[in-house]
């Protein structure tokens, strides 16, 4: 009998009670990956040997009676944007093919210290630029709900792995929605913590002022358990916040929202959002009201400029962050036949090594930072950012948390938007303001849309370092939905197993 369908917290309990070992649990997941990943393509690299070694080490400690952290022995899938010592780390790009980092990112260090078993690295849009994993240099990941659809992105591999029971937990990064959007599209929980809540050290940078690492899980509690493992101040990341980690596990277990004010953002509802999405969101709000919360409407008028500003700030920072990929020190080198100078080899390598969307954003960002255009583009975008922050501040004066749909639609077909970048960019319209303001947000699965039977995500947002608030609301709503449905949402997912 396999244990892969349990939640991470259930696995942790069973491991603690020695009902099975971490090696067994890890092997079950490796078997599952072998079984279904041919269809899902969530993983870029599976480190079976490393995972089993880690699992055996945890088991040995448990036998010796050593004190273990709550998630010790539970397997996890890692987005291929986090440096893991000795393990291929590509960020979904050809330009990093073959690079094995000589160091661990802080998040990986924390995972290892907590005894979390790292199964392997998951697929993503190249350098986290995209919302579907179609921009990966290594092929597209399929949505386990419908293999003809994308799992969202950029952390699509991590989300798909959790939804397909290849891993109970996963790590993603979220720059404009890259955790929350794929979580919504695959029916799992995904959290973008407060900016600075989790160290970015060792995370291949896309947009430094927006990037944030966060957890995926199949339940709110699972996400919270992982959140507490990876969060906390890091001296190696100057933008990391030096404050106590929000008590998110306790919040996830609280199951009570009495007296909480929940603000519905006017600008992120109504037309433009798929009917089935809006319907599930409304029902969720009713459940929250039934649980004792109060609904208020708030307005965030600057959000309409957030998407445009994001597509100036993120590419600007990216154009600089990605400059280091020049073939001189690591990664791909093309055209070095002895006849060409360094600059020419750099240029040929970058032409060959970067994908179309990455080039588009490098060019966009280079242009936006150019002298004579800086004020109009980068400068204006920063002003919008300030306005977005002010909108949030005002809204949080009226409500404890804010809510909106995570995405305008459910999972779209592979290829449907890949030739239309603006349509693709619009899938992040509701998630981007959170990154712009540096606050945290959660995507919670709240049902399946009537028209297509695909998952819908509710976004719950809280002020800086008040991440516990969305765990509290998320946990309460999750419990209400579970009692309404009688089974978890993922019980409805088509079975993939059997035919590899």
């Amino acid at each position: 009998m396999t244990n892969i369908y349990s939640s991470a917290s259930e696995m942790a309990d069973s491991l603690a009670k020695k009902e099975y070992s971490s090696v067994e649990l890890t092997q079950q997941h490796l078997d599952r990956i072998a079984d279904v990943d041919g269809k899902v393509s969530a993983f870029l690299h599976v480190d079976a040997e490393g995972a089993l070694t880690q699992a055996a080490a945890v088991d040995a400690k448990r036998v010796r009676g050593e004190k273990l952290s709550p998630l010790a022995g539970v397997p996890l899938a890692l987005k291929d944007i986090l440096a893991q010592k000795g393990i291929p780390t590509t960020a979904g790009s050809k330009i990093l093919e073959g690079w094995r980092p000589p160091y661990d990112s802080t998040v990986v260090t924390k995972l290892k210290e907590a005894g979390v078993v790292i199964l392997g690295k998951t697929n993503m849009d190249e350098f986290a630029m995209g919302s579907s994993t179609e921009n990966s240099a290594y092929g597209t990941t399929q949505n386990p709900w419908d293999l003809s659809r994308t799992p969202g992105g950029s952390s699509g591999g991590s989300a798909a792995a959790v939804a397909a029971f290849e891993a109970p937990l996963a790590i993603g990064t979220d720059t404009g929605g890259s955790i929350r959007q794929p979580a919504a599209l695959t029916g799992i929980v995904g959290v973008k913590p407060t900016y600075g809540g989790v160290s970015r050290y060792g995370v291949v940078a896309y947009s430094s002022s927006l990037d944030q690492v966060g957890p995926f899980g199949r339940t709110v509690l699972d996400a919270a358990l992982l959140h507490e493992v990876i969060a906390g101040h890091d001296e190696r990341d100057s933008t990391s916040i030096n404050a106590p980690i929000p008590q998110v596990v306790a919040a996830a277990k609280r199951l009570d929202v009495k007296g909480m004010k929940i603000g519905v953002i006017k600008e992120l509802s109504g037309p433009g959002f798929q009917a089935g999405v809006s319907q599930r969101i409304s029902e969720s709000l009713e459940l929250l009201v039934a649980a004792g919360a109060e609904i208020v409407e708030v307005s965030c008028p600057s959000f309409e400029f957030a998407l445009a500003a994001y597509y100036l700030i993120a590419p600007s920072e990216a154009s600089s962050n990605l400059a280091r990929f020049d073939s001189m020190r690591y990664g791909l080198r093309v055209g070095d036949d002895g006849s060409k100078g360094a600059e020419e080899v750099m240029s040929i390598t970058r032409e060959a090594g970067f994908g179309k969307e990455v080039k588009r954003r490098i060019i966009l960002g280079t242009y936006a930072l150019s002298s004579g255009y800086y004020d109009a583009y980068y400068g204006s975008a920063q002003k919008v950012r300030t306005l977005v922050k002010q909108d949030f501040e005002k809204a949080f004066g009226q409500a404890d948390v804010l809510v909106s749909p995570v995405t305008p639609t459910t999972a779209f077909k592979i290829g449907e938007k890949s030739e239309d970048p603006v349509a693709m960019y619009l899938s992040d319209i509701a998630t981007i303001p959170v990154n712009m303001a540096g606050i945290g947000g959660m995507s919670l699965p709240v049902g399946l849309a009537d028209e297509d039977g695909l998952p819908v995500g509710l976004q719950i947002m809280a002020p800086v370092m008040q991440d516990d608030r969305f765990y509290r609301v998320g946990g309460t709503l999750e419990a209400a939905l579970l009692s309404k449905w009688g089974k978890p949402l993922l019980a409805n997912i088509p079975e993939l197993g059997g035919v590899a």
Partner: protein, 503 residues
């Protein structure tokens, strides 16, 4: 009509130079600007590197607090305001010796602004003070080093291959930028030199940099433009890089004044460009043209937080600013009654501090200077180490006290110093172990004197006859017989008295 070549004098009679100076200083912090790698000069290539200074994917910078402290000290010593809020920016350009292909540098929000430095220059009308206004002091990181192998020029173009050493990548640099310095007239080269000299001395007194121009820990770029005298205009400027000694600063500026004057004289225009100073000829050769200004696409470094130094801390640092070196030099020179030339030697040998300390410990100023500049420096030279590493100021003061007390002769004292330097212990222990006591026992000396007289009866006779200088031969014999341990003055006194010539 052919135009005569304008020499320096003619050039400065016709044109007014405007000077501007940018000085880069490598701070002597133990670790780099944004990581904990060591900063030792001359280590094996690429041994002082880590994911951060190699710009590996995912690595992040953390500002070195010591570098901020040093920068603030520099700003305070240069009479600057310290910015309550300053930031780093990214200066984007591609070059293989720059691991991230951007340099993390302060740009429009530097840590120190609006200062000045007064420098004194000898003019036809005596010493004159020129005020050099400081526009900004900002922090940045150094790049790695490229070694271009093959090809004739040592430059990247035409090289067969290039080697990269990232040990220097990320070493903290402080750039000190002056405003334009008007009104220097023909003294522009001297003002430039005096400024860099004074700045170097201040940086040294602050202890924030090794300030070794030959090792590149202090580098100067000189900007210069000319305009016809009285025109009130500002000409097009050139920027001369690679100026690696104080003398070169002066030569580079005068050379550039002459070059530009002759171009203008010939009706040609000055090209805005970077020029390289050639040490051998004193000329400059053109480098990169700045006509097509490179666009560095500066933007605030998102991986770092703003620098917001606490006002109380700045006041604490202000208390640590030492007396301005030029003022201190003048004060000490007067106090010690020291000739100019010797003062210069002390300054150049960086011995002011130890001499001052030795004197504070009770040593007589002339002897303190002589011992440090003479015997101790000589031994240091031999051993290729710094004089200050050989012996403590306490021991030097102790030895000098013994000389003054007549317990050591200069010759014996040299042996004591040698013993101390060789690790034989304190001066007292060396004297003990080596048996280096001045022979002042009259009986012992008289025996030696008598045997000298009996060996040279003729000489003795001449002395008796009033030929005092002839006594030298006898004194020498006595000194030889006592192995140099006798006090020569004492020998002379006893000898002359014995031969009936004493007072």
């Amino acid at each position: 009509m052919t135009l005569d070549y304008l020499d320096y004098k003619a050039a400065t009679e016709k044109y007014e130079p405007t000077l501007g100076l940018e000085v880069h200083v490598e701070l002597n912090t133990k670790s780099k600007m944004f990581c904990s790698c060591a900063t030792e000069f001359g280590a094996e290539p690429n041994t002082q590197t880590c994911p951060v200074c190699l710009g590996l994917p995912g690595a992040l910078p953390v500002v070195n607090a010591k570098a901020i402290e040093s920068s603030i000290l520099i700003g305070l010593a240069l009479n600057c305001s310290i910015a309550p809020y300053s930031r780093f920016a990214r200066k984007n350009y591609f070059y293989p010796d720059m691991p991230k292909n951007f340099q993390t540098s302060q740009y429009d929000e530097p840590i120190c602004v609006d200062g000045y430095l007064d420098v004194e220059v000898e003019t036809d009308d005596g010493a004159k003070v020129f005020r050099v206004d400081i526009e900004r002091v900002h922090m940045e990181e150094d790049t790695g080093k490229s070694l271009h192998v093959g090809g004739s020029t040592g430059r990247i173009h035409g090289a067969e291959y290039s080697l990269l050493d990232y040990n220097r990548a990320g070493i903290p640099l402080v750039e000190i930028v002056t405003r334009i310095v008007p009104g220097t007239g023909k003294y522009a080269p001297q003002v430039a030199r005096a400024y860099v000299t004074e700045l170097r001395d201040i940086l040294r007194s602050l202890g924030v940099s090794d300030v070794k121009m030959e090792q590149g820990s202090l580098r100067c770029d000189a900007n210069l433009s000319l305009a016809p005298i009285g025109s009130g205009e500002l000409g097009t400027r050139s920027e001369t890089k690679n100026v690696n000694s104080l003398r070169s600063v002066e030569r580079a500026v005068s050379g550039e004044i002459e070059r530009q004057a002759n171009r203008l004289q010939a009706g040609e225009r000055i090209v805005q460009e970077t020029r390289h100073f050639l040490e051998e000829s004193g000329q400059t050769r053109p480098g990169r043209s700045k006509e097509e200004a490179e666009d560095y696409r500066y933007f605030p470094e998102p991986d770092l937080v703003p620098i917001t130094p606490d006002a109380n801390w700045i006041e604490e640092l202000r208390k640590r600013i030492p007396e301005k070196p030029s003022i201190r030099r003048k004060r000490l020179q007067t106090e010690w009654d020291c000739p100019d030339k010797e003062m210069t030697s002390l300054v150049n040998a960086e011995l002011l501090d130890v001499v001052e300390e030795t004197i504070e410990l009770g040593a007589e100023p002339t002897r303190a200077r002589t011992w440090w500049l003479g015997e101790i420096s000589r031994l240091a030279n031999e051993k290729e180490v710094l004089p200050t590493s050989l012996i403590t100021t306490e021991f030097v003061a102790e030895i000098i006290a013994l000389i003054v007390a007549g317990e050591l002769t200069d010759k014996l004292a040299r042996q004591v110093v040698e013993g101390v330097v060789n690790g034989e212990g304190s001066p007292k222990e060396v004297i003990e172990k080596r048996g280096l006591k001045v022979v002042s026992d009259d009986t012992a000396l008289m025996l030696a004197i008598e045997s000298a007289i009996s060996a040279q009866p003729d000489t003795a006779e001449r002395v008796r006859g009033g030929n005092i200088p002839a006594a030298g031969a006898l004194i020498g014999a006595v000194m030889k017989a006592t192995g140099g341990q006798a006090d020569a003055a004492k020998v002379r006194e006893l000898l002359l008295r014995h031969l009936g010539q004493g007072e």
